[in-house]
Symmetry: C2
């Protein structure tokens, strides 16, 4: 027995959105371990986040736990997956089949989280016309034509920084609504275009810096 | 002519650390375009961040620009690369040669930013003993022995969530000092261990959510 579930249309704060996948993976893990119910206190203990924060974050997805019993674990998992967009398949094009781009084409894990890369673009004649993990690589020039025939909203940016802005403009002109930017370049877009920056190199810099501090302290 | 350069040992705020790679890529781009000097105002305009913020962030790396002339571009690039740890090679082991793990082994871009993956671990007999992009895959059981013979501080975590905590504990017991966590699981570590979370799936969730908001608005 669980309370009725519905999506809330209020804007969810980004920190909450970033924590929700933690609760999802925690719930999945507990389900694997045979649990049928899970409380915010249990989640809190497992992942070391304040229980009131967990309860508040979960209130955004409009799932209500019952005192002492907590959430029905299957219900919590399906509501979170749905809310986070992992159950709907979102189609994407990838731009720049270099080392990182090719690696992402081969990461089948993305499709389990709602992202299906349906085509890639590059200008290298050795790459154009090939198929990587079932995904065709087209010449970048073909993008406007192919875009018109497809229902793709997302562009993944894995090009060299020298052309990051140019390719972003090209994507947006073609009708892309969200850019997943893996380059360390800060791209500019019109106000209604979504940008998600995932710079592995910026994360590396933070990690190196913190590691050096720890090594100096020891 | 540039002012003397030295590293500051104060703790650099994480937002600053995350912005510095943007300035670096911006400076590299301007150098490619033939510039020899760059001011914080120019960087500010290029990447749409307040000029006083750029100047403040750059003051952490102790590089001082001259009024009207700005920074010597070669000097700024080399100081930033050095400060961010991209010029020193940091050795790492990777745990979990699944889809994402194998993709990272093939991303040669990481080595340009100071990360060299020198070995990978898995338990799958089809993977153990193979070599991916020049990186040997060992059985996970061999880690403590191999760790003792090497000068590796960083562990990259790309295992299923069900064993993320167990493998983290195993790494830390073996002497790993920093964990780059690509799983959507929130791992627990002792206080002196650095964790860098890079959950592609959490970033996807944020992007899907923002995209849906924009699509509803239109």
């Amino acid at each position: 027995m669980t309370a009725p579930v519905s999506k809330i249309s209020d804007k969810v704060p980004e920190p909450t959105l970033r924590r929700l996948p933690w609760y999802l993976s925690c719930a999945k893990l507990m389900k694997n371990q045979g649990e049928t119910n899970v409380s915010s206190t249990q989640i809190s203990r497992q992942i070391n986040i304040d229980a009131s924060q967990v309860a508040k974050d979960l209130s955004y997805v409009a799932v209500s736990g019952r005192t002492r019993v907590g959430y029905d674990i299957d219900c919590l998992i399906s509501v979170l997956e749905d809310f986070l967009g992992f159950t709907n398949m979102h189609k994407a094009f990838l731009f720049g089949v270099g080392s990182l781009g090719a690696a992402l084409l081969q990461d089948t894990g993305l499709s389990h989280f709602g992202l299906e890369i349906v085509g890639a673009f590059d200008i290298d004649p050795d790459k154009v016309g090939t198929v990587i993990s079932g995904i065709p690589v087209y010449h970048t020039e073909e993008f406007p034509k192919i875009m018109k025939q497809s229902d793709v909203n997302i562009g993944i940016l894995t090009v060299p920084i020298s052309i990051a802005q140019m390719i972003t403009d090209y994507m947006v002109d073609g009708g892309i609504k969200a850019v997943w930017n893996f380059t360390p370049f800060r791209i500019r877009v019109p106000e209604d275009i979504v940008v998600q920056n995932t710079s592995l190199y910026a994360h590396l810099a933070v990690m190196f810096n913190r590691l050096n501090e720890e090594l100096i302290r020891q």
